[in-house]
Amino acid sequence: MFENLLTWLDSPQTLQAIVVTGSLLLFGIGFYGLLAYTRIIKILISLSIMESALFVFFLGLASDPHKTAPILGDLFKNFEKMNDPVPQAAILTAIVISLATMSLGISFAIEYYKRTGKNDIAQMDALGEKR
């Protein structure tokens, strides 16, 4: 009974189902935060959550838990028991980009707060139609 449960949990389909459900749930949380909050920092955090959800989604679906990391395969001879390295390289790049965007956004928010004392996009009024 317990053995069966463990094998079922260990099968790629189950793991991938967990990854898909979890990451889409995370994406939904991020999207909710993006729409529901007006604080600049909270919006940036929501964006970050959405990005992380996509990384988990991609990595979870593109790799098989029973295969090893690309560098630990059979020494580049048959490429049999290793995962596809492309998604991992892509995700690394995307993480770096996301980090850069986030730090830029936070530095904008800090500078904006220092200059105006505002930290909320609902208070922004410098732009727009003027009569």
């Binding site: 993006l34 600049i40 919006i43 940036l44 964006l47 959405m50 990005e51 996509l54 989604f57 991609f58 679906l61 593109a62 596809d84 492309v86 998604p87 892509a90 790049t93 995307a94 980009i97 850069a100 965007t101 830029l104 956004g105 904008f108 928010a109 500078e111 904006y112 200059r115 105006t116 996009i121 922004m124 410098a126 732009l127 727009g128 139609e129 003027k130 009569r131």
Partner: protein
Amino acid sequence: MSPVYFIALPLFAAFGYRGVEALGRRAVAMALLMESAALLLLAASFVGGGRVVENIAIVQPLAISLVIDSASLFFVMLITLSMTLFSLHYLFRRAESAQKHEGRYFVFLNLLMAGTLGLVLSADIFNLYVFIEITGISAYVLTAFQKSEQALEGGIKYLIIGSVASLFVFFAIILIYLELGTFNLALIAKNFSSMPGPIIFVISLLGFIGLGIKAKLFPLNFWVPDIYEAAHPEIASLFSAIMASAYIFLFFHLFYLFGIGFREFVMTAGIVTMIVAELAALRQNDMKRIFAYSSIGQAGLVIAALALGNPHATTGAFFLLINNALAKLLLFIIVSVLFYRFGSTHIDTLKKVGSKVTVAALLMAFLTLLGMPPFGGFVGKFLVLEGFAEKGAYMAFGAILVAALIEAGYYFKMAGMLVGPNRSPETLPLSIGYRSLFLLIPGLFLLLGIAFFLFLPYFGESAATLSDAQGFVATLLGGVK
């Protein structure tokens, strides 16, 4: 020569900013001018060369490739030409109106150029994502560069909306990779229709939202006027001339390559974008906002014409793109000159313009944007209308004419302020360089309108190449199955 220089040279030059900055403001402008002029010449050397594929590192289909064909070459020349004209403005402007940190400014201008050129040239969908981000991040920084309240507000808004857009694009790219196991554009194009229907729909929807935000498509363009208002006018000139064109190319490059349906839908979106933007422009009092709405309107017309897919309309769209880029570059450069002199971008400032060259340049830019002969805009609009008439799309035909009438409303209002009564002209000292620049750019779109037969074969070929998905796939893959 290899197309890799289009991306490598700006990225490499960005590293040299310390050295250039130490030599002074003129050196920064000269470096930018030499660089963009060199790239323009390099682009000119590709004219008539067919499709050139540059594979970096390994062989197909794993290689990172750059493809330059007559469609992407058109956009490369548009970007480098705009950048050359922009750096002339940079060179001529007076010392007191300089930006605070010229060296950093130079870095982000270079990144913007590298990013947009990469968007146009790359044949790898993940690299496209990276270039979208490079373009985006440099655009956010350039928007907020002044660090004033307005600029920072614009920068934050742009960063949030831009990140959401690239998230959607990234989601679409992930789904494509999970389905097809490749990032190579040609392989994706070949197998795109073999995916299950719902997946195709989701990918198209995500891509449409992401790239629609970037290409300013209605109803995803609510952010544009704020950003154009927040940014310095000379930066807005680059956004309108370079970035908008690059994203329109990317949108339709992928649209044709993947053979996505929804043609009528995109066409209608373009027409609605145009009408709504022109109507909104009527109510504005700030020149930057008026020209921002006018840019959206022109983009809408171009998108509608490209979605129609008729050869005449597509060729006309190419005329309109280069015409709009040159005219908006000129208009925003003049706005930035007026802003330094009078400290305002309100349309009443136009009443104070006392320089004949500036008035003439403004009037010519208005006329070409309205599509009046003998300027380039006329040729573009005429061909687009011909295309719509041939396809029997009379609703769209009428809508374009109505939009032109609305457009005439606000451009004639501004022209009235330039030449009409109630003027109070004040002196506007202009250097000889600026005077020649204000004659050079109208000269270019006058040339486009009078000698259109010189450009017609090239633009026609570019238009045909843009929609030729099979040729792209065949050239990129070569012998690979």
